[in-house]
């Protein structure tokens, strides 16, 4: 029994920095509110109620968590190969745009299923290519991928706005420039029995698939080797550049898919409402999950929940809408600060495992 507990602790240790960060962020958030004379504890409670307190709250949370899972993969997968990509927002925009363009090119009364497949493929390719461009710049031109992906995201957003407000603008969209609305039958519906669209299903599926790939796939192992020590990867002849580009394609493709889901399930056309910052919140989710695809599912729920509780805080406590953003910011700072625990984790884990191996020997032996 004791050994089982020790093993379990060893398995859960990687979650420690994230748990510490959440506690730290909540503490700072409470202080932040208390300094303004607001009822801090009540606010925390409302955040919980607004996120997970009712069926309606849950649906709202899941709705927001779905794209976050996909955009978090855009950070987490390249991170396996040692890249820090923060330009997922650009891939979301281009994925959404690509998805909105496809129906315009299809003949009328084209059947829905192949059309949706085409839209998804276009979104995957558009998002993947954009992030792969950042990977290419790094591998072949020595440009820092964090900066280039961020700058490429600005270009993507500009491109998106240009197309939506210019060449692709639907003449009837007067106040809110949009592409022509998707035909009714191309829209993605809700999951059976829930008021949450199918994007959630695909988001969870993508996270599980990526987890299996990373943990059990030969390619996942190659990615870890490249991310762990690129000199060793070259020594054993791994095609480092190809693996990095592939990881960027996968990550960018996931973010592109997020854009497609938002367009085809919620907005019905590509417009500026798509650019709600899912790409940036995804960075937070991926860091909270410490780039573990399974943990991304849980972290996306937490962040999605915090975001969806904003309106409740606004209504009940008269707090500004940006309050939840403050909490997210505090969470991110705490995550980065607690990340320094990682160095110790390996040592602790080793001790725990060694104790399970020789329960009678002293731990420090």
């Amino acid at each position: 029994m004791r050994i089982f507990l020790l093993r379990l602790t060893a398995k859960m240790l990687p979650a420690l920095p994230t748990l510490c960060a959440i506690a730290g962020a909540l503490l700072m958030f409470v202080v932040f509110l208390a300094l303004q004379g607001k009822p801090a504890l009540e606010a925390c409670q409302l955040i919980y109620v607004g996120a997970f307190g009712s069926g309606f709250a849950w649906e709202n949370t899941l709705q927001r968590a779905a794209p976050l899972m996909l955009t978090a993969l855009c950070v987490a997968i390249p991170a396996r190969t040692g890249l820090i990509i923060i330009g997922g927002e650009g891939a979301v925009a281009l994925g959404g745009l690509a998805c909105a363009v496809i129906p315009m090119m299809l003949p009328a009364a084209f059947p829905a299923t192949p059309a949706l497949l085409l839209m998804a493929t276009a979104a995957l390719v558009a998002g993947g290519a954009w992030i792969a461009l950042a990977g290419w710049l790094r591998q072949y031109r020595g440009v820092n991928e964090t900066i280039s992906s961020l700058l490429l995201a600005y270009i993507a957003l500009a491109l998106f706005n240009h197309m939506v407000e210019g060449p692709l603008r639907h003449p009837e969209s007067l106040n809110k420039p949009s592409t022509p609305p998707l035909p009714e039958e191309y829209l993605i519906g809700s999951l059976p029995g829930l008021d949450v669209h199918w994007g959630l299903f695909w988001g969870v599926l993508a996270c599980i698939a990526m987890y299996v790939l990373v943990r059990h796939g030969v390619f996942g192992f190659s990615m870890s080797v490249v991310g762990g020590n690129v000199r060793a990867a070259r020594l054993v002849g791994l095609p480092v550049n190809r693996i990095v580009l592939m990881a960027c394609l996968l990550g960018g493709g996931a973010a592109g898919l997020a854009g497609m889901m938002e367009v085809a399930a919620i907005h019905g056309s590509a417009n500026s409402a798509l650019l709600a910052g899912y790409g940036y919140s995804g960075i937070l989710v991926a860091f909270a999950a410490r780039h573990n695809p399974l943990a991304i599912i849980a972290c996306a729920l937490v962040i999605g929940g915090i975001e969806s509780s904003g309106s409740l805080l606004q209504r009940r406590l008269d707090l500004p809408g940006a309050t939840t953003l403050v909490l997210q910011g505090l969470l991110f700072i705490n995550l980065l600060a607690w990340e320094s625990l990682t160095g110790w984790l390996g040592v602790w884990r080793l001790r725990l495992l060694e104790t399970t191996r020789n329960p009678n020997r002293a731990v420090h032996a």
Partner: protein
């Protein structure tokens, strides 16, 4: 400023059980240039690090102008007027010469009165035998000018005893002559005393007044330069040819053995963009160990990285078993090319991954290590690791332990297990036992010899001449990115090798002309 004389008595220093410096007494007279000569690991750096206070000596006394002083930190050394110019530049490239000089002073007020400082610096420059424009930015200076700035910094700090650590390793021959000439003139004007670490006999012969030679942490000789010659220095540095230890029974290299590794006119650039490997050619037969000797920094690192696929090469050709080789995974697998790089944790392992995973880096994608399809078989990886750990005595014998937590010798054993798990046709090894303890060294060397007996072509690059002479069949000397000398290891003369390593061979090309390696014709 007047030059300072320095003496040590019985200087010693240990790192753990290892005696890096033992009972070394040197006398450096005021106003002279004193060369400190020795192989890598001879204790030169340990001695000067003790003098500069960076890593204080644990035995012996230091006398300056005849008075004993304790030096326990660089601050002490600075206060006593001892300064050091390091092998690599320690200037701030974005700042001007004037700013760099001021920066060297360390303690600066919060506001700098540039008018006043400029006047002081101008006055200082006027007293110097060589000058640099105070306003010019350092990044625009040539390597020789940067080295002059390093010297100016020391003079500006009024250091009167200067330690130079291989001061010309980054300079062209012309720049070297100029800088060393300036240093000598300063010394002979009794403004400075200079202790200069070098590998190059030519610099000793033309610029030093006296020379001290260290070997394996001990003093082997001290003399005036006019009383000696490069041959004697090489003999001191390398040791007398040892009484040939009963040669281990080893089968001779077969004349008709196929060529395992062939390098033809290979050119490789260094990180700085200079040509590090310059049209280098060599051949290694199957069942032969070819050793490459040389002072580090002569292109060995770049050569090895190019062979291992860690660095692109500019031109030339590498063939393995007669087939062109560009270090791709497929070629490595098909031709069975394996390698033992130096610093295995840095070059060949992922510290955070387990021993088992690290042992699988070569074959995790092979059919035995994967389940049908695209999935990896961690059970197979673990079982194989357990076998290898037992066969190669890796300790502790836990396949799940992160490899970064193992000792250096065991990391290298684990890498060796991975690289020699199956028969290799070519093995590329670079300083494979550097920094390892005695048992790991003999273990790993025995494995390399065993691979040779089985018919592996081994290229062994090493800074340790003893290791090369013991293991290799043929020894090549690499200087300035070229092979300048080739000799049969059994008939090798250490003195001659040392002379070529020091770049003091009169005409390297001509001497190589007579010696064509393994020409069947």
């Amino acid at each position: 400023m007047t030059a300072l004389s320095l003496e040590t008595f019985g200087a010693g220093k240990s790192f753990g059980d290892f005696r890096a410096l033992e009972d070394v007494s040197i006398q450096v007279a005021a106003g002279t240039v004193h060369a400190l000569l020795g192989e890598n690991g001879a204790g030169k750096s340990t001695l000067v690090k003790g003098l500069i206070g960076y890593s204080p000596l644990d035995q012996g006394r230091i006398l300056l102008d005849g008075i004993e002083h304790a030096i326990s930190s660089p601050r002490d050394a600075h206060a006593l007027g001892i300064g050091m110019v390091y092998q690599h530049f320690t200037v701030a490239p974005g700042l001007t010469v004037a700013e760099n000089l001021l920066l060297a002073r360390g303690h600066l007020p919060w506001g700098i009165s540039w008018v006043k400082e400029r006047a002081t610096l101008d006055a200082f420059m006027n007293t110097m035998p060589f000058r640099l424009a105070l306003g010019s930015t350092v990044s625009g200076l040539s390597a020789g000018e940067k080295q002059k700035l390093e010297l100016l910094k020391q003079l500006y700090l009024e250091h009167r005893f200067l330690i130079l650590d291989e001061p010309t390793s980054v300079l062209t021959p012309q720049e070297s002559e100029e800088v060393l000439g300036l240093v000598r003139d300063l010394a002979h004007r009794s403004e400075l005393t200079v202790l200069m670490i070098t590998h190059k006999f030519k610099e000793v012969m033309s610029f030093a007044d006296e020379v001290t030679v260290l070997r394996k942490g001990k003093l082997v000789g001290h003399t005036k330069v006019e009383h000696t010659n490069p041959d004697e220095l090489a003999k001191w540095m390398m040791g007398e040819t040892r009484i040939a230890a009963a040669p281990k029974t080893r089968s001779p290299v077969k004349d008709k053995a196929p060529i395992g590794l062939e390098i033809l006119r290979l050119c490789v650039a260094s990180d700085r963009g200079t040509t590090a490997v310059n049209e280098l050619s060599l051949k290694v037969r199957r069942g032969e160990i070819v050793g490459v000797a040389g002072i580090s920094g002569n292109g060995q690192k770049e050569l090895i990285e190019a062979l291992l696929g860690q660095r692109r090469f500019l031109s030339g050709k590498i063939s393995v078993n007669g087939v062109p080789y560009r270090a791709t995974r497929n070629e490595m697998l098909q031709q069975k090319v394996f390698s033992l790089p130096e610093e295995p944790l840095h070059n060949a392992c992922i510290a955070g991954m387990s021993v088992a995973e690290n042992m699988a880096l070569r074959n995790f994608d092979s059919p035995e290590m994967r389940r049908p399809g695209w999935r990896i078989n961690r059970t197979a990886i673990r079982i194989r690791a357990q076998k290898l750990i037992a066969a190669f005595n890796v300790s502790p014998a836990f396949p799940d332990r992160p490899i970064g937590t193992l000792s250096g010798g065991n990391v290298q054993r684990a890498v060796l297990a991975r690289e020699l798990a199956e028969f290799a046709t070519v093995l590329i090894a670079a300083n494979p036992v550097f920094g390892l303890d005695f048992s790991a060294v003999s273990d790993i060397q025995a494995r390399i010899l065993a691979a040779r007996e089985q018919g592996t072509a081994v290229l062994l690059v090493s800074e340790d001449l003893d290791e090369l002479l013991e293991l290799a069949d043929t020894v090549l000397v690499m200087t300035n990115g070229r092979i300048v000398y080739a000799v049969d290891a059994r008939s090798a003369d250490r003195t001659t090798i040392g002379r070529y390593m020091g770049g003091h061979a009169s005409s390297p090309r001509a001497s190589l002309g007579g010696m064509v390696q393994h020409d069947d014709a």
